[in-house]
Subunit: 439 residues, 2 copies
Amino acid sequence: MKRINVAILGCGTVGGGVAKIMSEIQTELNTRADGELILKSIVELKPKVAAERFNIPLDLFCGSGKDLTPTEATAYINEIIASPEVDIIVETIGGTNDFVHKICLDTVNTGKHLITANKALLAERGTDIFEAAEAKGVKIGFEAAVCGAIPIIKTIKENLTGDKIMSVSGIMNGTSNYILSQMQNYNLEFDTALKMAQESGFAEADPTLDINGGDAGHKLILLIKLAYGIDVSMDDLSIIGIENIKKEDIDFANEIQAKIKLICYAKKVNGDIYATVRPMMVKNSNFLSGVDGATNAVRINNKYSGKHILIGKGAGSSETAMSIVSDMVFISRYGEKIRNTAEKQERNFADARQFVFPYIITFHTGDVPGTTGFITTAIGLQDINIDTVSHNRHSEEKAVFSVATMPCTLDKIETAIAYIKTERPNMLLSEPKVMPILF
Amino acid sequence: MKRINVAILGCGTVGGGVAKIMSEIQTELNTRADGELILKSIVELKPKVAAERFNIPLDLFCGSGKDLTPTEATAYINEIIASPEVDIIVETIGGTNDFVHKICLDTVNTGKHLITANKALLAERGTDIFEAAEAKGVKIGFEAAVCGAIPIIKTIKENLTGDKIMSVSGIMNGTSNYILSQMQNYNLEFDTALKMAQESGFAEADPTLDINGGDAGHKLILLIKLAYGIDVSMDDLSIIGIENIKKEDIDFANEIQAKIKLICYAKKVNGDIYATVRPMMVKNSNFLSGVDGATNAVRINNKYSGKHILIGKGAGSSETAMSIVSDMVFISRYGEKIRNTAEKQERNFADARQFVFPYIITFHTGDVPGTTGFITTAIGLQDINIDTVSHNRHSEEKAVFSVATMPCTLDKIETAIAYIKTERPNMLLSEPKVMPILF
């Protein structure tokens, strides 16, 4: 049986989980991998903490278990990258800085397979790493980088290969979904729900990337690469986070049998790819509306086989580690035959402002007769058909009301809003909130 | 680029779908397959019908498009099986008779890969086919045999390989789920819902295998083989179908915030495998309760990565064909490295009567004081803790009431029921209905 030597760089929550699974179900893994998966060495600044938390023998750590300075750790990492004995490097350090980027690039350039959960790095600075892997014929396993335990990468790349993907959408950030669920279930404002999420460990001390849609954007970029073979940037996605969602928005969603979810959405229309990340009004008839808490879900709509939904844990130590170990098994078994991404396609990436959805627009205005008429007329002038107009609330001489449109572009809606602002400078008391409706 | 020659035996709903997809997205398939997938020949008794329905050139059919007698078709099939030019045979004839069994066995024995949607054959008579494939080093693709378009086979065999499966459950028969959904949504009795399903094409003229749980059982047998590496028979599963579900059962499910679903369930407990197919009371908090109509869903509970849910189309021409084509791509790309099933495991298959669930038992009795006390006492005598007792209905001197138990074995419940029958021969007006509760 062939031997596959593995090194883990960074033994925190995810890296430690990998070491634990590798030791606990070694026999099963070797059969599935068609080879002996050997955990050769681990580089970690604080080995004792990791060893105790994940029950790892200290002698597996470079430096035999003593704490390492960053310089020492870097030296060990370079040694591992240079070693002809290591076959697979698991990068679980995280971050997008030059240090981590160089580790990943050097790994593939020295002919080693790379497995990583680092969605930010692959999405923002991954192009040269994928190119180098292609040139060297080595593999990049990044199942853990998108939606934790959900095997969405292999589902697209290996399982649904008899089809054409029309759209990919989903809830891909557990923290923001947890916050929205808490707002929904306990009638909370955003700030309170965020604080609770931080206290209970569902949000980091710095939750920026989770709540501003950045993390979800990274995942969508990787899925677009797989589903459509094109590279897009964070700017292309015109990402909107959940920071501005208010209790009143959630209340209104309830009224119209919907839930507000941070949705990643990519769709092929006549050969063009449209994609965006933003809060959407998900009707209760759509499965994604029922996905609560830190759970992730991905929906694929295929030409031949219709809708597929995958639901699972989006984060967590052993959950994410499982995806890394499954990549290890897959690379070990199928090796050079694996392809890292989808076939490159000549497709245009279209402006998200041209993305056609039914939209819901919420206006805050004075409670003045004629307002509804003026606003709906302005929308109609853009050739947008209106589905319903609902007054959410009248109070203290203010009105909150929402217009649900038939499918149209965001561009037209923005033009209509600009027209209202120009023609009636005092009509809108705040910036209208525009959300796609997902049926 | 290597060439992979494919023959399709039987060009009905599924086989025709395969030919259609192969011709429509040939370029994408070849890239994914790392080889040129060539549809070499098709054997079909009525080629003209199939050619027109699926837009297939007549010259691809053996006999150049003329109708074949069964004898002629058999001769062509034998010719294809004997041909050294064919690499993959797609069997979409169906059935479990000797004729089809021999086709599949001969296919692998002559060193060809077999792809089939024939769950009944593989589940009931598949052992020697799998053994022959192992001996010859050829592959059996059966993604299409379990839950149509849902890629559950590859999900277990290739994607979740870094984990241990604790349980597999799900809704695996679209027809019975459609009937139960119709009963639920339109307040129908079983017979009416079945008739409607037949009229709208969701049930066959002979729906036996769909409604008696047989078809679901076939799928569960294949999943148990993959998840736990053991072969079980239909008898092992103690299958119960949906034929005896009444409107009053559905009404009662509504009352307790549950839906009745035909559930396949296999679970590992202390190394033993428990499995069964039967109607269960699925609480609305469980995702499976929301899976309506002809949709299928599978839930996998894993040691490390927790719950995974896959939802998709369980049947249909292009849906099932997609799974066959994806097997073709996978076999072409990864060839001999693929393993056909899971590692064999030394496990006991346990009696389903020892399967521990919370159960709900529905009794029809006379409306006589003392009845509830006697029945609940009889249940308690078996060391079964009772969760709730609900009287569904009192009318015309009859009472229908349900006892929800804490987790216990079916065996104990049956003993309690036997005790009631012996001690109070006239108390029960009909056989009590026993259903596991799924939270």
